[in-house]
Point group: C2
Chain length 313, copies 2
């Protein structure tokens, strides 16, 4: 048995993962950004102890602990060099977990782990070359080549959310303009909608969200577009077109066997994958896309937990 | 000794390459697109015989023959599935050369071969992960990962000229819009300039080209921009900005140790690499670019010949 831990922006989930890649138990805690590293680290260690003891297990029975975190991980998989979610810089999470629990541990990037999970146990099983695309608030991705996570020279590759799709396009949180995630990331889509609503736009969208502006998500925009809401149509058409262009770029560059699409925007919409397929097909080189499958992720919220439990850094 | 053959749009060059990667002799022939495959294939075989006999060598003394061709190569490196330069479809060049010369041969994509050449003997020697970017009439590229050419699942990867840099941008010959090469490929740059000249534009550019519209190349556009020619300034600024954005996209995705820039537009301009560096730096993720070098290709016109002679498919 192994443990996979997924450190998110608001919650941290630890899962016990068996050798078939199944999460047999999970437990979560909520964290706030205002809590510094030592407090959260201690909470993570306690979370592991708790999920183990609730399942009558001890740390000594574990083969390993893998931690998935957003942000940048060092090349030795010991430190989180930067966590955008928690504001951490250069924290030695691996050594701290190993010291506390006496179990082999490592940290990895969350979307690398999720892509590995989908390759090993999910929607991309058995494929040689895989591209994972996770569209949540932002966009992250992972690349599997010959069954191994491709990390780049300094463990800073696969930043697919920051492919430029328009050098003079929407501003992105990374400081650049026109990034893939500035067009298709959930946070950015919703911000564009909210801006119009705050400026007085109502349309058919207003009924869909029952006036609850804070609750708007990508699913509403897709539904609004289907109902003929003008704003939603404009925004969702743009999202699909840019998503197709981004996927086409990566298909041309990587010629993957499978592209796995996951993340909140994918799970929270109904027709995103089927609607983007013709755009991808129109935009990609025929030879590069000919044998490439576009599929939805299977492991959902467990992908990073399962991937982190098994990925070999 | 080996032979590398570079099949271009107008000429075919065969080079004898020694074990240190040096071209010790070369010979070329000119081809026209109107000549079909059998005639050109026979000419290639004769070219090899000629360059060998001129250097008192025989086919039997060769370790192998590598052929570099633009276009798409099959996964067994036997056939050119499609050659945009020569209009060939599905031609068995490898088997034909082997049958005629009784030497082990194979065919590979020309920019994959050139990137391999630069990695093995040129500007990217010793690097683990390399991105080769060749800006000629169009843009082609190659990716080296752990010392091997990354080819994608079906030998149709590294089509970097067809990264989308603007989904609603300039039309590209591939059928898509806004491709990297539609912004930065030599043919496209020159076409944009020519269109304005044909519409009556003169400016300082006119003196630079001595009225010879047919001779315009990217070097003139760079020089014109430096002299303050208005059209050249507009076009060259756009070229540099899109080139920086394209390189930033790939740095974020692949996090390579070295990016090698080659091709006619790079060799035919003076400051392209130093001018694009700050744009790349501004646009790429700091972590992805931190340790990445941007260098000019060293092997020039020999890169594909040398690479094809040595690359292991």
């Amino acid at each position: 048995m192994r443990i996979g831990i997924d450190i998110g922006g608001t919650k941290i989930v630890a899962g016990i993962v068996d050798n078939s890649g199944k999460v047999t138990a999970r437990k979560k805690i909520f964290v706030g950004r205002h809590k510094g590293y030592p407090i959260v680290r201690n909470a993570i260690v306690q979370l592991v102890r708790d999920v183990l003891s609730e399942n009558t297990m001890r740390p000594g029975s574990l083969e390993g602990i893998g931690v998935a975190s957003a942000g940048q991980i060092d090349t030795e998989f010991k430190k989180i060099l930067f966590s955008p979610n928690l504001g951490w810089h250069n924290v030695p999470l691996r050594d701290d977990i190993e010291a506390a629990l006496k179990v082999h541990a490592f940290v990895d990037n969350d979307v690398n782990a999720a892509t590995y999970g989908e390759w090993r146990f999910g929607a991309a099983r058995g494929a040689d070359n895989v591209l994972g695309v996770f569209i949540g608030t932002g966009i992250g991705g992972g690349i599997i080549i010959h069954g191994k996570v491709y990390r780049g020279s300094y463990n800073a590759g696969a930043e697919i959310g920051h492919l430029t799709l328009n050098p003079f396009g929407y501003p992105c949180n990374c400081g650049n303009t026109g990034c893939f995630e500035a067009y298709c990331g959930g946070r950015y889509i919703v911000e564009r909608v909210k801006k119009h609503i705050k400026n007085g736009y109502r349309g058919k969208l207003w009924g869909l969200i029952h006036g609850d502006i804070a609750a708007i998500n990508a699913g509403h925009v897709e539904s609004g577009a289907a109902l003929g809401d003008e704003l939603c149509e404009t925004i969702w058409t743009e999202v699909l077109e840019y998503l197709g262009a981004g996927l086409a770029s990566m298909a041309n560059l990587l010629n993957p066997e499978i592209i796995v699409l996951g993340g909140g925007v994918v799970y929270g919409t109904r027709h995103l994958i089927e609607d983007v397929k013709p755009i991808l097909k129109k935009r990609a080189m025929a030879a590069s896309l000919k044998n490439t499958k576009l599929v939805k992720a299977k492991l959902r919220e467990d992908a990073a937990i399962i991937g982190a439990a098994f990925v070999e850094p």
